[in-house]
């Protein structure tokens, strides 16, 4: 019997994807295509956070480390070493996955706030390192790296905002599918158990260190994939790709959408990123809106929107079944 934990969400996602598929035909300009493209990549990034932070319960405050590793690898390999982009993208994915394995190995013996502290420290250290690290530029009297960043050479002359949009949409759908598969898999079940009670999980034969590491690896690979897409679309990797702000952004989307629901964080990013960046609200209004939405959503949906709705649905099911059992 399938566990009823994640319900029948894909059908609905397909409907949503259909709308997004047709949206450009409704007369989107380049600006909105760009915002939505980045929005799709942000959604994958938020979802990847939820794999390790929600599903496996390892609060990561250094998630940008994996994202930045991927964008920086793409930039350095294409611009400095002259690799073709696809090859660099593959290497970037491997490197960010390796970063995930490293962070996972270090944080596996830790619990709760100590995981958050370790990942925060590693992410901050990486940000600080890359802010100060400049690379020789073969082109002129300036360097690459640091806050100004490094160009990413895509080398695809026919690349256009429309192609970027559809590629990012396809990427989002693929990654959402993968993430939901992970969440529903046996491994996903084990991660949920481990996030609920490490003691019980260990007494159930769960090798918790291996699984924590695995969760970091999976999340880092997905975040890295989002980073590769971001590098390709923006054409630049900067030290800010490692920033704490970016790490907090993922955690924020996850909290608002519903930690551990995968779909919640993805939808939250899909909804908020375009709302904040794509509607041309004046800056002060945008920041205030963001902060107030955050506060009010969490005040009334403490487990995030999807999380709280799921809790309520469960409570209702419980009430319906009160008859049987004790």
């Amino acid at each position: 019997m399938k566990p009823p934990r994640f319900g029948k969400i894909p059908g609905v996602l397909v409907a949503g994807a259909g709308i997004l598929l047709l949206l450009p035909l409704a007369g989107l300009d380049v600006f909105l295509l760009d915002v939505l493209t980045i929005g799709f990549l942000t959604a994958v990034y938020a979802g990847s956070w939820d794999i390790v932070g929600g599903l496996a319960g390892q609060i990561s405050l250094g998630h940008a480390l994996f994202f930045g590793t991927a964008t920086y690898s793409c930039a350095l390999l294409t611009s400095l070493l002259g690799w073709p982009f696809p090859l660099a993208a593959g290497a970037a994915l491997l490197l960010s996955t390796a970063a995930g394995a490293a962070v996972g190995t270090l944080s596996a013996p830790l619990k709760g706030p100590f995981v958050a502290l370790l990942t925060l420290a590693l992410g901050e250290a990486a940000h600080e390192f890359f802010l100060g690290q400049t690379f020789f530029s073969p082109r002129g009297a300036y360097s690459w790296g640091g806050e100004g960043g490094i160009p990413v050479l895509l080398g695809i002359p026919w690349f256009s905002p429309w192609i970027a949009y559809y590629a990012a949409l396809a990427f989002l759908l693929l990654c959402t599918w993968i993430m939901l598969r992970i969440a529903r898999s046996e491994t996903g079940l084990i991660w949920t158990a481990l996030s609920g009670s490490e003691l019980s999980a260990r007494a159930s034969g769960v090798d918790i260190r291996r699984h924590k590491r695995l969760a970091f690896v999976a999340a880092a690979a997905l975040a890295g994939a989002a980073g590769v897409g971001f590098a390709a679309c923006v054409g630049r990797a900067t030290a800010d790709d490692f920033s704490l702000e970016l790490s907090f952004q993922a955690a924020t989307f996850a909290a608002v959408g519903g930690r551990g629901t995968i779909v919640g964080p993805i939808l939250a990013a899909l909804l908020f990123y375009p709302l904040l960046q794509g509607t041309g609200i004046p800056p002060a209004g945008r920041v205030l809106l963001y902060a107030l939405v955050l506060l009010f959503t969490l005040r009334f949906f403490p487990a995030g929107v999807a999380g709280t709705l799921r809790e309520r649905a469960r409570a209702r099911r419980m009430a319906g079944r009160k008859g049987d059992g004790r």
């Binding site: 084990i190 158990a193 609920g196 007494a203 159930s204 034969g205 090798d207 059992g325």
Partner: protein
Amino acid sequence: MSDLLLADRITKSFGTNRVLRGVTIGIGRGEVVGLFGPNGSGKTTLANIITGLTRPDKGRILFEGKDVTGMSMDARFRAGIARTFQIPDPYPSLTVVESVRVALLCSEAGRKETEGKGPGFQENLDSLLVRTGLFAQRFWPAAKLSQGCLRRLEFARAISCRPKFILLDEVSSALSARDEAELVALMRSLHREEDISFLLISHNPLILEELCDRVVAIEDGRVFWEGKPGDLAKYVPTSHHAHGDEGGNHEGG
């Protein structure tokens, strides 16, 4: 020695507090051993060392003749050393069936037999639930279960690895008389049908007298008495006995 499990000269200190000072305890195949001692005597620490939650300062743990001292708790579970906890800690967001499923997935025994959860896996899972009397509540969130059902869930989890040895930590504490009787029956049937060895930890002599083949009593981190359960009463200070006499005890510890 033909012991299934042997804890050999176990020593453990926390800071300056010497909790165990060279405890040796063996459990034979199919034997039910009771571990008796007052609060703070080191029972739970010994249990944690036997099951791999805590590493001893000195001494070894042998299981089926192999040294498992360096093995982690989860590896020991997969090897056939299962345990229950004095205070169950259910997964807050999983249902009963999912909770048992996790244990079944992880135990190599369950894995090998069914090769990637064919129909045999589901049957196994269902039979575990039926056997522990949780089948009707299998879709309940584990966290919403009553104390009695939580103990059953602990049992279901423990036996899902087809263990050769189960450690039961204060199995009857905080339970009603009915729940306690049912759990005792479940334990007996497991012992009878599958020849599982048990180590029962309790500070209630009545339970131990009722169930055990042999009782070991520890105090101040040392074994201070070992013998037949029937003789336990003679060696137990009357205060303990009188206390345990109340039947459904409420000592959580």
